[in-house]
């Protein structure tokens, strides 16, 4: 998913779609709403952390490694 949206090239549109995926996949395996929300927020934060790390790595690569 992250790769797909990064390929599409619009980073700001990533958080909402990642939240949607986190919410639905979390709800598909749980019944209690509190469990669903807690797990979804955790998954979403992990996804966002991954994206930020990816962007840092990408910037580092293009700014320092590639030249």
């Amino acid at each position: 998913m992250i790769l797909a949206a990064l390929t599409a090239g619009d980073y700001l549109l990533l958080p909402p779609i990642c939240l949607a995926i986190a919410l639905v996949t979390s709800a598909a395996h749980r019944e209690k709403m509190s469990d669903i929300l807690r797990h979804a927020v955790r998954s979403w934060l992990i996804l966002m952390g991954g994206i930020v790390l990816f962007m840092f790595a990408q910037t580092f690569f293009f700014e320092f490694v590639l030249p």
Partner: protein, 201 residues
């Protein structure tokens, strides 16, 4: 009475089959995209399908004790005939299958999230992403969100891609993800159906 269930072998097999199917579908879409689409737009869809495939395969092989478990309100399980119909309803409208099974909160969550994702995609692409002749490959993912896709595709049938749409690619992605997320919701209804059959057996 609330009771915790582990994923059943049949549920694991079903998830594995769906995952394998999605993986094959992703490969097929990627190959078709490479062969027939100069812009490789289908590659995005192939990646999305593969991500969902790995999600399902991961679910099939997850470790039951100590890991995530599925919580089921056993007494609230309706009879199997009702469940079969609810799968069709879940395909038609996101969350409707859960609604008729009495899972109102989850139904509203599915409907809200999936519909928001779908309409956000339409908005981003200016409704230019629903032409079957131009974007037939994307309908492999759109098709899982039955009524919304059919209605929107019917209403947008005459719209031509006659101006620059800045977020067109992301619009495709949002609507495709909405369709695939509805498939996840449908799978949840199917899992409830399987558990119901097992509890009745």
């Amino acid at each position: 009475m609330s009771q915790e269930h582990q994923t059943t072998p049949r549920g694991r097999l079903l998830r594995l089959l769906v995952g394998a199917g999605l993986l094959a579908l992703g490969c097929l879409i990627y190959a078709l995209s490479r062969a027939y689409d100069a812009q490789h737009r289908g590659a995005l869809l192939a990646i999305v399908a593969m991500v969902f495939a790995f999600h399902f395969i991961g679910q099939a092989f997850r470790r039951p004790p100590g890991g995530r478990v599925e919580r089921v309100e056993e007494s609230a399980e309706p009879p199997p005939a009702h469940m079969a119909f609810s799968v069709v309803l879940a395909w038609l409208v996101p969350g409707l299958g859960h609604w008729v099974l009495g899972r109102r909160a989850k139904a509203m969550l599915f409907f809200g999230v999936i519909s928001a994702c779908f309409f956000a995609g339409l908005f981003l692409a200016d409704a230019r992403n629903l032409n079957y002749e131009r974007d037939s490959i994307w309908f492999w993912a759109y098709g899982w969100n039955g009524l919304e896709t059919l209605g929107a595709a019917y209403l947008a049938r005459g719209l031509a891609l006659d101006h620059y749409v800045p977020h067109l690619a992301v619009g495709y992605l949002y609507v495709a993800v909405a369709g695939l997320l509805n498939m996840v919701a449908m799978m949840d209804v199917v899992a409830m159906w399987i558990r119901s059959e097992e509890s009745h057996a």
